[in-house]
């Protein structure tokens, strides 16, 4: 949709919105996501997107607090805190939230990412009010005991062990690379947390973190699925409107300096038998023309069996059976809001020299820079459109919800979901070349190699 945005600044207690709906003039095969957007008097952003495909609803609350800006002496705290949100609130004791969702036929989860922490439920459609009540209850306040905190410190430490410490290539490269590539502590610390930092978390930390960041004016509520707008608005107002807003702290400076020189690191892995490599380039700032160009460059170089790096690293050279990668390993190119890398990683055999792998990156990038055509761009746009549809249609409404939440939180404009394809269509071969020359420079890259040290 061009020129039709459903964002309005609104006076307190009056809710306006424009609903965008698919019209008959849309070309066949296109998709238009309905978006209703408004804010409650306390600042809570609300996005409603009806979809009656299945008799279910997906409800998500996204708080504008990610692990990037967690307290400096408390690495891993944003994520530990996410666990605390399931440990008891004013009206629900431990495990009662979990049971409330499950016994009403729903599933739930939460996750901590670079720039937000989210909580979501997928419920049978007629349990919408129950889900709204549950989320509002824990937005009002928590009731955490030392026993519950200690329990979850144990759980989270076991999460780190199973995903990182007791795993070959554990943390590679998703947890490692930001620590090597970035300079600013906010982007470069251990997001999962040092075990000692996790252990030192106190109840007062939990309380102050909640007070600081878990306020309605620092959150968005997104509802997708089979509901009636009138009911949804009524219950959202009933359960959320009275929750007081808070004064939010100023966001720290999370910017990264321009990288001038290639960085190269080796990390020993006592559980791995084969070397692995990750190659990362700092991304253009979000929402710039170059950012959208990088989305298409990713499609050309890395996504799918037709991509240049798959063709060269897997099919031609046989260095590896699979090359993974993309923009934002903990989500996608839309659901973050700060410095990021575009990255690829692969496991290879001891006999292969890592330099010969990096040379294939250079070759593929140079080829694209010198030969990119409009036809290449068109193909990348088709692949991008298809992957956006997958994201929108994925996870029973949560995929769409995740996009709407990100665009509401970061851009104050959830209707952007319907503009994405156009943004990518604006990319020209010239812009691709320009983006490559600035962002896929060797000086803008960080290379991390896993040195395998397993004894057998």
């Amino acid at each position: 949709m061009i020129g039709k945005r459903s964002f309005l600044t609104i006076p307190v207690f009056l809710f306006f919105s424009i609903t965008t709906k698919a019209t008959n003039s849309e070309p066949p095969g296109s998709l238009n996501v309905p978006v209703v957007y408004y804010k409650l008097g306390n600042g809570l952003k609300v996005v409603l997107s009806q979809d009656k495909t299945a008799p279910t609803i997906a409800l998500g609350i996204y708080y504008n607090i990610g692990f990037r800006i967690e307290p400096k002496n408390r690495t891993g705290f944003a994520h530990l805190f996410e666990h605390m949100m399931f440990q008891g609130s004013q009206n629900l004791g431990k495990m009662e939230f979990v049971k409330l969702i499950q016994k009403n036929g729903g599933v739930f989860n939460g996750s901590t990412r670079f720039d937000f922490t989210n909580y979501f439920e997928i419920m049978p459609a007629h349990k919408l009010e129950t889900a709204l009540w549950g989320e509002a209850d824990r937005m009002k306040g928590l009731s955490i005991t030392q026993e519950n905190l200690t329990n979850q410190q144990g759980v989270v430490k076991n999460e780190v062990r199973v995903n990182v410490l007791n795993q070959p290539y554990g943390g590679f490269p998703w947890l490692d690379m930001p620590q090597y590539a970035n300079e600013n502590w906010y982007n470069a610390h251990n997001f999962y947390g040092d075990l000692a930092d996790l252990d030192s978390a106190k109840l007062e930390d939990v309380n102050s973190f909640f007070k600081t960041y878990y306020a309605p004016n620092n959150a968005v509520l997104v509802l997708t699925g089979d509901f009636e707008e009138k009911d949804a608005r009524k219950w959202i107002e009933q359960y959320f409107n009275a929750i007081p807003s808070s004064t939010l702290p100023q966001k720290p400076d999370i910017s990264e300096p321009r990288q001038e020189k290639e960085k190269k690191f080796t990390k020993e892995d006592k559980l791995a038998n084969k070397p692995a490599i990750a190659v990362a380039y700092k991304m253009p700032d979000k929402n710039t023309p170059e950012y959208f160009a990088m989305g298409l460059i990713d499609q050309m170089l890395l996504q799918g069996n037709d991509s240049r790096l798959y063709q060269s690293l897997v099919q031609e050279k046989g260095f590896t059976g699979n090359v993974g990668g993309g923009i934002n390993y903990l989500g996608d190119m839309f659901d973050y809001n700060g410095p990021m890398v575009w990255m690829a990683n692969l496991i290879y055999d001891n006999k292969v020299k890592p330099d010969s792998i990096v040379a294939e990156f250079d070759k593929a990038i140079n080829f694209l820079e010198n030969n990119v055509t409009q036809k290449n761009v068109d193909l990348a746009v088709i692949k991008m459109r298809s992957s956006i549809y997958d994201a929108i249609g994925g996870n029973f409404g949560i995929g769409k919800l995740n996009m709407l939440a990100s665009f509401a939180l970061f851009d104050d404009n959830p209707s952007k979901i319907n503009d994405l394809e156009n943004e990518f269509k604006k990319v020209t071969p010239e812009l691709i070349r320009k983006t490559i020359s600035e962002f896929l420079r060797s000086g803008n890259r960080t290379i991390l190699i896993i040195d395998p040290k397993a004894t057998k």
Partner: protein
């Protein structure tokens, strides 16, 4: 609904000095359930035996297409482990008409990729493309499966890839545990051998790959599923045209299987490991059994959901582990139940005791009606979700087909889940989930585990 209203005492001591009673709120019940019907399918059969099932679903302009062939690792000989995988990789390399690169570009222009996945019982050739390309993508799938080029020059590279993958998988503690567990349960059967040796892979030749393909692939063993938004007539015409020339091939055949029920403890030493990977379980109820639906519910109560007894205990109460879960793993004509958890090394034996305790408790004491109802509602909700995406719908239809179950299985499942009684759950636990018949696999620091055994009784 459980009345969770509780009272707590709040003392306002500064201003009024009086006692205030704050009443906890009860969550709203919600409205009345909407009807859910399993999305309708249209089925057909070609004269060569290929079956088709199509379902129009959703608003996203994409379509999921899967050709599922009833062969896989189950048809490998004793020294042919992963020959099926190698065959799948070779099929992916292109057709007599289009090599890998040409195929990849063709399918990318449709907004998709073509995947060939080899599993124990099935080989799946699949992809999701933009709706308008459904008929063209069907042609590609047909060409890939009917006319594979089997290029000799790709064989060594693909064998090297499999060896690299083998090395990686064998270094992962969870797959180490899975390997030992499968060996114990399915001794002497292809299901019992998850990994080849490097020497085995080295020995595979192009004639072996072609032989596996000729012997096991064909229309009679296959079903094509098309789910999403698509032009029905064009899709049907494309299937007819593209697949009618495929050979009928072999009949569906799965070798008989006799899973082993045996009390045993197998330890894989992983020195200084911070966690022990636990798998414990036994052969259990197959989907065709009248006990299967009560067994699904029993699993949900015991370990199959976040709110389950075992997870509540060893995660939310004890903090021993992050992701414990019990799993029903179905293979053709057989099924196992197991609980898997990665627990802090020091808590290995304690975790086993807690798991045993929860199994015994469920056997001796029926859950309350209210607790049971919670899990029945949960499983019914999950069932709706399983039928609410193109890939999920293919999964459900494939489950019916693979297990020879009638359509009424899905249509009646929610009703049948709700009719399970508390006593049935206890009965099922007693009949099928006996702890003293379970095979236990522990992948962890043997010394640490040994110390715990000597200091704690009852193991």
């Amino acid at each position: 609904m459980k009345n969770i209203t509780k009272y707590f005492l709040a003392i306002s001591c500064i201003l009024s000095g009086s006692l205030l009673f704050a009443q906890k709120q009860t969550p709203p019940e919600g409205g009345t359930p909407k009807d859910f019907l399993v999305p309708g399918k249209k089925t057909k059969a070609l004269t060569n035996g290929l079956k088709t099932a199509t379902v129009q679903y959703g608003d996203i302009p994409k379509v999921n297409i899967s050709l599922i062939i009833k062969t896989g690792n189950v048809h490998e000989g004793p020294n042919e482990t992963w020959l099926a995988d190698l065959t799948g990789e070779m099929i992916k390399q292109g057709t007599k008409k289009d090599n890998f690169q040409a195929l990849a570009q063709k399918v990318a222009a449709m907004g998709g990729d073509i995947n060939v996945n080899v599993g124990p019982d099935q080989v799946v050739v699949s992809g999701a493309v933009l709706s308008e390309f459904a008929p063209d993508f069907i042609k590609v799938i047909a060409d890939v499966i009917i006319n594979p080029a089997f290029p000799a020059n790709e064989l060594q590279r693909l064998k090297d890839d499999l060896k690299r993958q083998l090395t990686y998988q064998k270094s992962v503690p969870q797959t180490q545990a899975q390997e030992k567990f499968a060996q114990a349960i399915y001794k002497g059967h292809p299901y019992g051998t998850l990994f080849p040796t490097e020497q085995m892979i080295d020995g595979y030749t192009l004639p072996m790959v072609k032989g596996f393909y000729d012997k096991n692939f064909g229309a009679k063993r296959s079903v094509i599923y098309v789910v999403g938004k698509f032009d029905e007539a064009a899709v049907n015409a494309s299937i007819e045209k593209a697949f009618s020339k495929w050979k009928s091939g072999p009949d569906v055949f799965y070798p008989p299987v006799n899973p082993v029920t045996k009390l045993d403890t197998i330890i894989v030493d992983r020195k200084k490991a911070p966690q022990t990977t636990i798998i414990l379980g036994l052969p259990s109820v197959v989907p065709q059994s009248k006990d299967y639906v009560p067994y699904l519910i029993t699993n949900s109560v015991l370990g199959g959901s976040f709110g389950s007894r075992i997870t509540s205990n060893i995660r939310e109460n004890k903090g021993y582990t992050y992701s414990p879960r019990s799993v029903i793993q179905n293979r053709h004509n057989t099924s196992v139940w197991y609980e898997q958890a990665d627990v802090t090394s020091d808590n290995t034996i304690a975790a086993l005791h807690e798991i045993e305790k929860e199994i015994n408790r469920l056997q001796h004491e029926a859950p309350s009606k209210e607790e049971l109802q919670g899990f029945q509602n949960y499983e019914a909700g999950v069932f709706v979700l399983r039928n609410s995406s193109p890939a999920g719908i293919i999964g459900q239809l494939n489950f019916l087909d693979q297990n020879n179950l009638p359509d009424s299985y899905l249509a009646d499942l929610v009703k049948n889940m709700h009719s399970v009684t508390p006593e049935q759950v206890s009965d099922i636990a007693r009949k099928y989930l006996q702890y003293d018949k379970m095979t236990v696999v522990l992948v962890g620091d043997k010394e640490s585990i040994g110390k715990q055994v000597t200091t704690k009784k009852g193991f």
